[in-house]
Amino acid sequence: MKFRRKYLSIPYVLFLVCFVVIPVLFIVYYAFTNKGGQLSIDNLIRFFSDKTNVDVLLISFAYAIINTFICLLIGYPLAMVLANRKYNKSSVLVMLFIMPMWINFIIRTSATRDVLNWIGISTGAHSELTTIIGLVYNYLPFVVLPLYTTMLKMDRSQIEASLDLGANPFHTFFKTIIPMTMPGIVSAATMVFMPTLSSYVISDILSEYNVVLFGSYIDLYFNQADWNFGSFMALIMLLLIGLSVFITRKFSKDDRGGRSIW
């Protein structure tokens, strides 16, 4: 038998089938059956008939949007500074921002809780604020990294060209720098938005269970052995994430013909 390069993909395909395709099929199966195992749309009716469920979904969206927005607001100028040779002579600074990612995320989040309580922002009394702080802190590196790499690619003379053609620094920022870094912005936003929707450890630890995000809601039902309803919610999230990937793909087409990492 002649060796063909596509045989190399066999282990990966097996892995995908076992750990992605089959579980997704299970989710779909559980979502549309009841506890007795019969086909039903009970879960669908149950989800939309209880306002709490929809509220949790909307709140999760709100947190994801706020988190993405704040991360971009902090991360964008930060990446600009990091990508500028004048301010950042070595890549040590970049390392400093990436390094928190090396620490176990549970430990990091527990430490954040203790630090916040110690400086007087009580996780019990200001749950919303501490959750946002925790989310921003955890997802900031995911924003900085893609933005930093896009900005490194940007030619300094393009900014100079913009100034030269009569655009003041304000116009240069909005008409040249932002559009040229759009692929970076889109992939940064996707890398924050989607994981925030499904995250629950951060909100659980930092809000002392006052803020319930969709992820922890799903977790709750699975823990109560209500696999069918949990699966239905997981399916909803899967569809929403799929939809947002589809939308962002429209925007993130790289100018050089390639695609961003999503």
Binding site: D155, Q158, E160, A161, L163, L165, T176, P179, D255
Partner: protein, 504 residues
């Protein structure tokens, strides 16, 4: 050049980075409508000067006047100048049309409105869509890219991208168009074509062009006026013809075209001696002065033996298409000759040069003189960032140094010479350079090399920006790191200050 209708003037402009000058004492005026070129090797400060005019760099000192007004502190977006960048710097997120229209969106046009009470006020508005359209179409036509409006810039070839970059600049009708080596990234054939096209555009548009290049041929082809720069300083300003025919110094002669450069001595009124014989010339220099003599290869005439001024032997012949290039030896000196007539290698001939084709110029360097040398506490001399163990008794006749290190003069006085300022002089031929970096007292980089007939004159610059000028018969490469070796007996010392202060 004559000061006619001056549009841009640079007065005593300096640009200093940390502690070295990128541009030093730059004085220039540019007449309206001229095509002026800054020409020089890389690192000579030509791009820095252009960037100061564009506003990307602020001069450390000096003034930049545009139409008589100082624009030195204006940001680039407020200067009525536009730049064509070396690597195009087009905006990848915009198509050809939007790239060109970019600048027009920020332009304001003045117009007058008559109010109800009859008074007139000036108001500002942006260009309308139709106006932008007309201007972009015109610019595209000038650069010959009519059908490319909606193309993505990344799909264009280098030459086409360059045209878009030019269109993007000229569409704004700048008072001066600045071009930073715009053809550097193109292949030779394309470059030649664009040279002519740019020249044609300049003629049609009638705006002032300031062009930066390191390519002397490009400069000669395109410019009305050339500014030759080296090491942050202007070496010569002149028309291409002036620069070629009357180079001001050996550097310019060597950089522009090919030349024979010799060290000569003035031996009489308009008489100079080089290549082992005496030549009539038309430049007047003091008798006995050492000078640099420059002769262009095409100005040397080969004559039958006995009819010219000096005997020579042809040692090499290269066919160059239109002409032959010969190398002839006069004693130890090489002479480069270009002529259409054929001669055989190894024949003995005679050479002659018309008096007005012998260019005589002051020598840029006579000897290495270090004005800031001093003596340290070990009676050694410090200059050019190194310590030299030379004979300090040459400072005063008959003096000596005792075992305690004190300096005594014949009149019996004793001195402690620590910190005494002296001047150190070393002849160029006494310095040796070596590629064994351990060999000499100090290391440096070769920044310039000029062939002088039978030897090279090399300038070695140390890390502390001290220069050594060295005569050497060996070939080196520019930017080689070498060590400088000076036999300590060849360092001449003279007193710079009164020695009596140091008496003990």
């Amino acid at each position: 050049m004559a000061k006619k209708d001056v549009i841009l003037e640079l007065i005593n402009v300096n640009k200093k980075y940390e502690d070295s000058y990128a541009v030093e004492n730059f004085n220039l005026y540019v007449n309206k409508g001229e095509f002026i070129t800054f020409l020089g090797p890389s690192g000579c400060g030509k791009t820095t000067t252009l960037r100061m005019i564009a506003g990307f760099e602020k001069p450390t000192s000096g003034q930049i006047l545009l139409n008589g007004k100082d624009i030195g502190s204006l940001p680039p977006y407020k200067r009525p100048l536009n730049t064509v960048f070396q690597r195009y710097a087009l905006f990848p997120h915009l198509d050809v049309y939007d790239n060109i229209a970019f600048g027009l969106k920020f332009k304001k046009v003045a117009y007058e409105v008559t109010k109800k009470d009859g008074t007139k006020v000036t108001k500002y508005r942006k260009f309308t869509r139709e106006e932008v359209d007309a201007k972009v179409t015109k610019a595209l036509k000038i650069v010959d890219l009519e059908a490319f409006e909606s193309r993505d810039v990344s799909t264009l070839s280098g030459g086409q991208q360059q045209r878009v970059a030019i269109a993007r600049a000229i569409v704004n009708e700048p008072e001066i168009l600045l071009l930073d080596e715009p053809l550097g990234a193109l292949d030779l054939k394309m470059r030649k074509e664009m040279q002519l096209e740019l020249k044609e555009m300049h003629r049609k548009l009638g705006i002032t062009f300031i062009y930066v290049t390191h390519d002397q041929e490009e400069a000669l082809t395109m410019s009305d006026m050339i500014v030759v720069m080296e090491d942050g300083q202007i070496q010569q300003i002149g028309t291409p013809l002036d620069i070629y025919n009357e180079p001001k110094n050996a550097f310019v002669a060597d950089f522009i075209g090919e030349s024979n450069i010799y060290v000569g001595t003035m031996i009489g009124n308009k008489k100079v001696r080089f290549l082992g014989t005496t030549w009539e010339c038309i430049d007047d220099f003091p008798v006995n002065q050492k000078v640099d003599v420059v002769v262009r290869p095409e100005d040397v005439i080969i004559k039958p033996l006995g009819e010219g001024a000096v005997k020579a032997k042809i040692v090499n012949k290269i066919f160059k298409g239109i002409h032959y290039q010969f190398t002839a030896m006069v004693g130890n000196n090489e002479v480069l000759i270009q002529t259409t007539a054929d001669h055989e290698v190894n024949t003995e001939v005679s050479l002659s040069i018309e008096p007005d084709l012998i260019q005589i110029m002051n020598r840029a360097y006579d000897a290495n003189i270090y004005q800031d040398a001093y003596i340290n506490k070990n009676n050694k001399v410090v200059f050019a960032g190194a310590t030299w163990d030379c004979d300090i008794t040459q400072l005063v006749n008959g003096s000596s140094v005792d075992e305690k290190g004190y300096f005594s003069t014949p009149d019996g006085k004793k001195y402690d010479l620590t910190d005494l300022d002296v001047i150190a002089t070393i002849d160029m031929k006494d310095i040796e350079i070596s590629d064994d970096l351990e060999d000499g007292n100090i290391t440096g980089q070769i920044i310039q090399m000029v062939w002088k007939g039978d030897h090279y004159q090399v300038i070695v610059r140390t890390e502390e920006e001290e220069d050594f000028v060295v005569d050497t018969e060996w070939t080196w490469n520019e930017l080689d790191t070498v060590s400088v070796k000076i036999p300590e007996s060849k360092i001449k010392l003279t007193l710079k200050e009164d020695i009596s202060k140091y008496e003990i």
